[in-house]
Amino acid sequence: MKLQRAHVLVSVDPETVMAGAKEVEERLIKEIESRGLSDEIKVLETGTLGISGKGVVLVVYPEGIYYENVKPDDVPKIVEEHLLKGRPVKELMLPELPVRAVKRETVGLTRKQVRIVLENAGVIDPENIEEYIAVGGYEALEKALTSMKPEEVIEEVKKSGLRGRGGAGFPTGLKWEFTRKAEGDIKYVICNADEGEPGTFKDRLILEGDPHKLLEGMMLCAYAIGARKGYIYIRGEYALSIKRMQKAIDDAYKYGLLGEDILGTGFSFDIEIKKGAGAYVCGEETALIESLEGKRGQPRFKPPYPVTHGLWQKPTVVNNVETLANVPSIIKNGAEWYKKFGTEKSTGTKVYTILGHVKYPGLIEVEMGTPLREIIFSYGGGIKNGKKFKAALVGGAAGVFLPDRLLDVKMDFDNLKEYKAVLGSGAILVMNEDACMVDMLFSIIRFFYHESCGKCTPCRIGTRELLELIKKVRKGEGEESDLDKMIKISESMWKSSFCPLGQSLIMPVKSAIENFREEFVKHLDKEFHCENCRR
C-alpha cells in the first residue's frame, strides 16, 4: 500500500449502488484529481459499512468520519471543505454514530463489537489482494503450510471450539477430522454460500467485503483434510458476490496462492465457483451436493454423511461462509486467543442481521452469548418512531417468535436450545406493536410451501395443509381447534420429514401460536378487523 494522507471509502453493495454509489465514486475521483490531490488521497471501494437505509455512505480515514445519503452534487463540498481544508461537512455526517460504526482503531478493544469475521469488511478494498496481504492476510496459510502438520491444524480448530455458523452448530474441527480420517485419496471442500434464509445477508457481506478471508479459510481446510479441490456454491441471485469472488480467485492464482505447489511447500489446491439457480432447499448440505453434481437439488438420505460420502461419493467437508471466515484468525492467533471470545461452549463471535422496525437496520458482529435485548436495543437502536416492541423472529424463517419476556436470552447455541430456539442464520427480524402475528406466520408458511422440494410426503403435504389452515384463520373463518391442528401437523413434520426444511417449521408455528395465542384467537372472530390481514 502506498502511504496516503487520507482514504475515502465508498461502500459499494447492491443497496448503495441503487442509491448511486458509482456516480458518487466517479465524481469523487474527478474532484480529487481536478484539485491535484490524487497522490495524497485515495478513493477505495469497499464492502458494506454495516449501515443500512442511509443511501450512499462514505467514511473518511484517518478521522473515521461517516457521511450518509451522499449525492454526486455533495461531493465538491466534501472534497473542498473536508479533504482540502480539514473541516468535516457537518450537515452530511451521520447524526448519531450507530454503535456498529466503530472507528478502526477501537475495533476489538472496546468490546462493543468484536470483529473477527468482519475485521476487514468496510476497511480494505475487497478487489485488491495486496490490501488483504497488507493487513496480515494469508499469514495463517503460510504459518500452517510451513510450520504445522495437517493434524495440528485440525487440533487447533478443535481446541478453539468453533462450531458451524450455518445453523446446526456442529463442531467444525470434528467434521474436518472425520473427513481427514475417511478412506479415499480424493477429498473435497465445499463452501456453502447458498444463503437463502429470509432476512439473512451476512454471507453476502463476507463474500463482497472480504473474499480473500474466505479463500484462506478454504485453503486451510483443504490442507487439514487433504483435499486438492474446492467449490464455492453461491446462490444465483448474488451477482456481485460471484464477480468479486471470481476476481479474488484469479488474483490468488496470480500470486501463487492457488494452483500447484503453493508457496513452494508441495501443497496444491484449486477452487471453482458454482452458481445456484434459486432453491432454498439447496442450503441443506446434501441437497447442495446434488445440485453441484448437476441434479435437481433434493436432499440425500443420511447416513452416510458427506464426511465419508459427499461430492461424487468422496469424503467432503461442507462449511458455511462465516465458519470458514473464522479459521484464518484461529490459526494465526491460536485457539487460546479465540476462546477468550464468547462463552465456554459457544466460542467466538456471531454475525447478525438486525431488521424490521428498528432504528438502525443492518449487520453487526458481537460475541457469542450477547443478550438478545442488547442486540435489539443497543445495536439496533430500539424500535423506531416511538413505537412499542412486540416480537422478534430469531433465526430466519425457520426461526422462533420471541415476545418481550423472553428477550433476556443469551444468544448462543446452548442457551437458545433451552428456549426451544435456534441461532440459525443469525437473522433477527424485529416487529413493533402494529405487526400482526397471524399475518407474519402466514408469510412464513407460504414461503415453506413454495420451497418444499416435494421429495418427502410429510413436508409436501404438511406445508400445504398448514397454508390452508392459516389462510382460514387469516380470513376469520377459523376455529380454535385449527390452531391446535397446526401445532400437531408441524409436530408430525418435525418427527417424520426427510430434511431440516420440513423439520423446522415447528419452530415458527409453535412459538407464534403459543406466545401470541390471544391474537390468534381474536382472529377467529368474524367481526374482528385486522389491517395486516386485509379484513
Binding site: M18, P198, G199, K275, G356
Partner: protein, 152 residues
C-alpha cells in the same frame, strides 16, 4: 451469441448444467429456456430430455415460458412482508394489469415473486432484471414503471 457457442464454453459434464442453463437464458431476449435450448443441452451433456426438463423446472430462476423485457421480482420473504411488500405487489399488479407470473401484452414487463433478495435493510425490495430497488412505496413504484416505459 449462438446456442452452440454457449455450449462450447463449458466441458460437456453434468456439473456444468446450471451454468449452461443460466447462460442460455441470459442470452435469450425473452429471458427463457426454449424447447430447442433444452434439447440442445440434453444432446450436449448426453442425458435424456426429461432430465434437463426436470432440472430446469426445479430451480425458480429458470423459466420455460417467454418473459418480458423487464422481469420484476418482488421479494415476498417475511422481512419484506413485514415492511409492506403486499401493498407493493398489489400496486404493481394494478398498474401493469397482470397477475403474478404473467407478462404484459406489449411484452415489456413480467411480474414475479422472489424469495429473499438479501437486501433486507431496505425492505420492501424488488429487482428489475439485475437492478435492486428498495424502500419501495406505491408512489415510488409508479415512478419506476413510468421510467421503464419511457426507456423502452
Amino acid at each position: 451469441m449462438k446456442r452452440e457457442e454457449i455450449l462450447q464454453k463449458y466441458t460437456p459434464e453434468l456439473e456444468n448444467i446450471l451454468f449452461i442453463l443460466h447462460d442460455l437464458q441470459d442470452n435469450n431476449p425473452q429471458h427463457y429456456l426454449s424447447k430447442e435450448d433444452l434439447e440442445a443441452v440434453a444432446n450436449y451433456l448426453n442425458v435424456p430430455y426429461s432430465y434437463v426438463h426436470g432440472v430446469a423446472t426445479f430451480y425458480s430462476m429458470f423459466s420455460l415460458k417467454p418473459r418480458g423485457k423487464y422481469i420484476i421480482r418482488v421479494c415476498e420473504s417475511p422481512a419484506c412482508h413485514l415492511m409492506g411488500s403486499s401493498n407493493i405487489i398489489y400496486e404493481l399488479a394494478k398498474l401493469l394489469g397482470i397477475g403474478i407470473g404473467e407478462t404484459t401484452s406489449d411484452g415489456l414487463f413480467t411480474l414475479e415473486l422472489s424469495s429473499c433478495l438479501g437486501v433486507c435493510g431496505v425492505a420492501p425490495a424488488m429487482m428489475i432484471n439485475d437492478e435492486v430497488y428498495g424502500n419501495l412505496t406505491p408512489e415510488k413504484i409508479r415512478q419506476i414503471i413510468e421510467e421503464k416505459r419511457r426507456e423502452r
